[in-house]
């Protein structure tokens, strides 16, 4: 999958995400939630990795990145698959927006073999997905209420490994 992002650096980033996630869910039963702290080692790699996936198809993400996560749910959904949902901080304006990432780690834990990443609800800001300020009570409300309405969230950005690299990104409005 590192070919999709397309650089040696991304490859090491992907390897870092894969190995950290794998270690995190090693002893977790499939279907079970696992503790995921915002300062976990994997977080910084994910802050770079998820935008890198989005940049492949959405040019506007070249100037945007993520600066932190607040996790509402972290669940092991397969032998080597995890699903993370919560809110992430947009680095450009330090506001939060919801995200959901489904990541499948390869058997040798050296790469991400499949993924589906969804980020953002319609809002304001540079990408039109900015929500409340990251330290506000609005951010806490967004996080607390996210799982209850996860199925009805209208994601603005969505990428998955089934799309071919040449596909133009389709921004949902």
């Amino acid at each position: 999958m590192s070919d999709v992002i397309g650089s040696e650096r991304s490859s090491s980033l992907e390897a870092k995400v894969a190995s950290e996630l794998s270690a995190l869910v090693k002893d977790v039963a499939i279907g079970a939630e696992f503790p995921f702290a915002s300062n976990a080692a994997v977080c910084y790699a994910l802050e770079l990795f998820l935008p890198a996936l989005l940049r492949v198809r959405f040019a506007e993400w070249k100037r945007e990145s993520l600066d932190g996560f607040r996790i509402a749910s972290a669940r092991k959904v397969g032998p080597s698959a995890v699903e993370l949902a919560g809110i992430c901080i947009l680095i450009s304006d330090q506001t939060v927006t919801p995200f959901c990432a489904h990541l499948v780690v390869s058997p040798d834990t050296s790469s991400i073999s499949a993924y589906r990443v969804r980020v953002g609800e319609a809002g304001h800001g540079p990408l039109g997905i900015s929500g409340p300020d990251c330290n506000s009570s609005g951010a806490k409300r967004l996080l607390d209420g996210l799982m209850a309405r996860m199925e009805s969230v209208r994601w603005v950005y969505s990428v998955d490994s089934l799309q071919s690299p040449g596909d133009a990104g389709e921004r949902q409005t």
Partner: protein, 113 residues
Amino acid sequence: MNPGPKGSCARVRRFSLGSRLRALWRIFLLQRVLDASGKVHGYLPEVQDLRRYHAEDLARLRDQLRIRVQTRIAKTVELGADYGHDARILEEQQLLKSIEKHWRIASERRDWQ
């Protein structure tokens, strides 16, 4: 004359409403910047607002920024850079320099509130 009870109640009476409000404002400003994990998130203070901080709060912010900038740089070396993180590092470094300059000048004047 009854000196009154010792402890916080006695001390609170010695401060004016204005000074207590100023203290609350400083704490509010600081909490906007430092989150529970100690990472520096949110809008960074403007340089012209630095004088509103209490010396202890500003020292705490400065120390957090030093750690955070070092951490960000170390992570950038380890995992690579991107436009957004580079811009944030630059912003935090500039704020850190401003705080250090403000601290130096204020220390020379000894004009901490």
